[in-house]
């Protein structure tokens, strides 16, 4: 049953994260904590999204999710990044009823199974919410 949750793609991103580590320069930074489990992440963005860097400690789901976020949003035009962000949040909040679009979400579709585990949705969303805050602090609005 947890095969649905621990897709190979997720485990790959967890073991070999893309773009991990905090980098300069950046225009906005946000630090988010999941108070129930203590997982933490810091996300930095430049105001043109040419770099998104992050560091944190947490479970495979939250860490893989940060890696996928980096892969999907770094270097994207802001409007497109906002669309991808919205699609990912919608997938996570869809209780497993939302069919993900691979064209938009790429490796992010591997998180479809996570949406069936209410206790883990927060883990997957942690980097995305931190990104949204960091972007807002950089003056970038990622809400569609």
């Amino acid at each position: 049953m947890t095969d649905q949750l621990y897709q190979e793609i997720i485990l790959d991103h967890y073991k070999h994260p893309h773009g991990r580590g905090l980098r300069d320069p950046y225009s906005g930074e946000a630090h988010h904590v999941n108070p129930t489990c203590g997982d933490e992440i810091t996300v930095r963005v430049t105001d043109d999204l040419s770099d998104i860097s992050y560091d944190g400690m947490g479970c495979s789901i939250s860490q893989a999710s940060a890696s996928v976020l980096h892969e999907l949003l770094k270097g994207k035009p802001i409007g497109e990044a906002a669309k991808i962000h919205e699609a990912f949040v919608e997938l996570m909040q869809g209780r497993g009823q939302v069919e993900p679009d691979e064209e938009v979400l790429g490796d992010g579709i591997a998180f479809a199974g996570v949406a069936r585990y209410p206790a883990r949705v927060k883990c997957a969303l942690l980097p995305w919410m931190a990104f949204k805050d960091a972007a807002a602090r950089a003056g970038v609005e990622v809400t569609v």
Binding site: L5, G38, E40, S60
Partner: protein, 408 residues
């Protein structure tokens, strides 16, 4: 007393026959909340079906029956912990409320220059109320550290508890390390300087024979749902003479003597601390839980858990990549065993174990400073009770092997 028979005990807990994800339920999360035997469920159902009424105010039959049931529960709890009188037992919502009650009531006489002493081993419920008290009053919060072996570090005892110390509030048994703190030296020192000692017994009262007079603390707090009772009912015990001096915490009905528009005089304890309609059925349920535990025998339960703990410590130590926190033998520790699987986050450990029907708790266990002390953000915790078996610990070990396989 007949010999302890875990198979017979298990028959009293209907939930234990459940399956989780196609596997028999292996419940290793009793430090979080315990399951309830039919004896408790039946008593609560009968209370609601036959006796339901408000307490301490009605002259009618149902009111009298309810009041009797509520006060009988208080007397049972008093006997269970060796209190000198039922009047020393205050019903609260849970341990957290009991500790907050003390922080407000006993804390009312604390001021700038005074010191409150806790430890790094506390549950958040025994940290935050004291931080709030110190913020309100200008008192200083100080604490004991933890040794590498998971014991309270008493090396600075004489200085840490001094003539400025007013309240010492410590965990009796750690909810994360399993350590049962030998608090005798600390209590002796606190009393030498005139400080009051509160012990958070949330994890000890459900699992050990405990006698408040022998323990020597001035107050203790514990909660019903961790000792086979329902949620929503907890206990503050305090020495009668101390309780008599303490001002009210919450104001309202039931805690008064006389009310005029100008002022109010307060009832004697324990009523003084039980404003409003209390959790009546829950108190009655806790009374039934105490009956159940007493019939089996706390010594027998404790011995069963020592056996489980020894088996778990040995089993987990034998798994490559597993690190156990807290004391390494069952001496001076209870059946709460936190551990780490190398390279795998506790959330992922817990998820895969759940897939196999093994229910453990993962996270910081509301004791984040303990995690920080050992350099981790969270831990996986297995905790045992009277209904657990060594076969369930084998299921845990098999689950941990599966965790390692998925994340290899």
């Amino acid at each position: 007393m007949t010999a302890f028979d875990v198979a017979r005990v298990r028959e009293d807990f209907p939930i234990l026959s459940r399956e989780i994800n196609g596997h028999p339920l292996v419940y290793l999360d009793s430090a979080n909340t315990s399951h309830k035997p039919v004896q408790v469920l039946d008593v609560m159902r009968t209370y609601w079906e036959r006796h339901n009424a408000n307490v301490s105010r009605s002259v009618h039959t149902l009111g009298t029956e309810s009041t009797t049931a509520y006060e009988d529960a208080r007397a049972k709890v008093a006997t269970f912990i060796g209190a000198r009188s039922p009047d020393e037992v205050v019903f609260t919502k849970n341990s957290t409320e009991a500790i907050n009650l003390v922080a407000h009531s006993l804390g009312a006489s604390v001021g700038p220059g005074d010191e409150v002493v806790i430890s790094e081993m506390e549950h958040h419920s025994n940290i935050v109320p004291w931080q709030l008290l110190c913020e309100r009053t200008g008192a200083t919060l100080r604490w004991f550290g933890i040794t590498d072996d998971g014991l309270l570090d008493e090396s600075g005892l004489a200085e840490l508890i001094n003539e400025r110390t007013r309240i010492v509030s410590l965990v009796h048994m750690s909810n994360i390390l399993g350590t049962i703190n030998d608090v005798s030296r600390i209590i002796a020192r606190a009393h030498e300087v005139g400080a009051q000692v509160l012990l958070d017994c949330s994890q000890s009262v459900p699992h050990l024979p405990l006698d408040v007079v022998e323990l020597g603390a001035d107050l203790i707090a514990f909660t019903g749902h961790k000792m086979l009772g329902p949620t929503g009912i907890g206990v503050l015990w305090a020495r009668a003479d101390l309780l008599r001096e303490m001002p009210p915490f919450l104001g309202g009905g039931s805690m008064i003597e006389t009310v005029t528009m100008e002022r109010t005089t307060y009832a004697a304890p324990p009523a003084r601390f039980e404003a409003g309609t209390p959790p009546i059925a829950e108190a009655v349920g806790l009374g039934a839980a105490v009956d159940y535990l007493s019939a089996i025998g706390m010594r027998e339960i404790h011995e069963h858990e020592i056996e489980l703990t020894g088996y778990a410590l040995k089993t987990l130590a034998g798994i490559d990549g597993v690190r156990v926190y807290g004391p390494g033998t069952p001496d001076g520790r209870g059946g709460t065993v936190s551990f780490d699987v190398a390279g795998v986050h506790p959330h992922d450990v817990g998820q895969i174990l759940d897939d196999l029907g093994v229910e453990v708790r993962v996270g910081h266990h509301c004791a984040r400073p303990v995690c920080a002390r050992f350099g981790v953000s969270s831990m996986t915790r297995a905790s045992f009770y009277l209904y657990n078996t060594t076969a369930e610990i084998d299921a845990l070990a098999a689950g941990v092997e599966q965790v390692k396989k998925v994340f290899s």
